[in-house]
Symmetry: C2
Subunit: 178 residues, 2 copies
């Protein structure tokens, strides 16, 4: 199993994407590596420990990758949180703020049972707005959030503060844009 | 393990989504079920048999779910094919026709090595346009397509004809919009 430090070396940093001044942390180089893929999954599971989980929720679209992997390893179902207009059946919606304007995410109303113990996964913790909205969706459906899990955390954006009610887990941190 | 017939019962059919006259086949009810998730994966692996694979490619965004699961089970890396503007590094693009107009998909140029044996996965085979474009991307990178795999096939749209150069696998078929 690769260590968190070895996993960090497999992440590609791309300057000025999606816009000038942003250093994009690209996990595609991590997951195209077979050891990178399997070790990231093992490390995420290790951070969860022996906590009981009933459903894993993954946030569209990179959150689907390890969300599905975590669900299968834990022997539970997988639930997607999606961008607006993608889910076909009865659903609930939550809005959140972006740097300029607003966006929203949705979940099927029948996807979580009351008291389901839920792990929510996304690949990247930046400002935390998307994950905070996902947590609100789960709580509206009366699920219990056991952990919110990320591969990469941009600590200088303080997203963890927005999520301080929850057990927040991440594998790899970046303290600045370098 | 659930049979293909039992898996079909876990798929929800939603009339008039995304527009009037279309019966949407919704896999969210399949994958929120722990047996549905694990048995779908096992059935997809059974269709692949003992063919050697070096990389699994999944098409954004529902194709990421079982694409990642297949990669991990096969002990290989996972490569996302994404919608335009999402991939940060050097990439190639392929366009395809929609009912009205065009769309395109992209892949990182360094994601596939020449002669890599590739399994491409998406959740649904409709007209086959997206998968055909994905196959062209892999071939531009000199990968060898071993199988194109789907969960659901809408046989009345004849997508398989567009893909007749390839080994096409699907678990669950619908012969009409009912």
């Amino acid at each position: 199993m690769l260590s968190e430090q070895e996993l960090k070396k497999l992440i590609r940093s791309v300057p000025d994407f999606p816009k000038k001044g942003i250093m994009f942390r690209d996990i595609t180089t991590l997951i195209k590596d077979k050891q990178g893929l399997s070790s990231t999954l093992e490390q995420l599971l290790a951070k969860l420990g022996d906590k009981k989980i009933d459903k894993v929720v993954g946030i569209e679209s990179r959150g689907f990758i390890f969300g599905a992997l975590l669900a299968e390893k834990l022997g539970v179902g997988f639930v997607p949180v999606r961008k607006p207009g993608k889910l076909p059946a009865e659903k609930i919606t939550e809005s959140y703020s972006l740097e300029y304007g607003q966006d929203s995410i949705e979940i099927h109303s029948d996807s979580i049972e009351p008291r389901d113990k839920v792990l929510i996964h996304d690949d990247l913790l930046a400002t935390g707005g998307t994950m905070e909205a996902a947590c609100k969706l789960i709580e509206k459906l009366k699920g219990e959030i056991v952990q919110v899990s990320f591969i990469v955390e941009l600590t200088f954006l303080n997203g963890r503060e927005k999520l301080n009610k929850y057990d927040v887990s991440s594998l790899i941190s970046y303290a600045d844009e370098n």
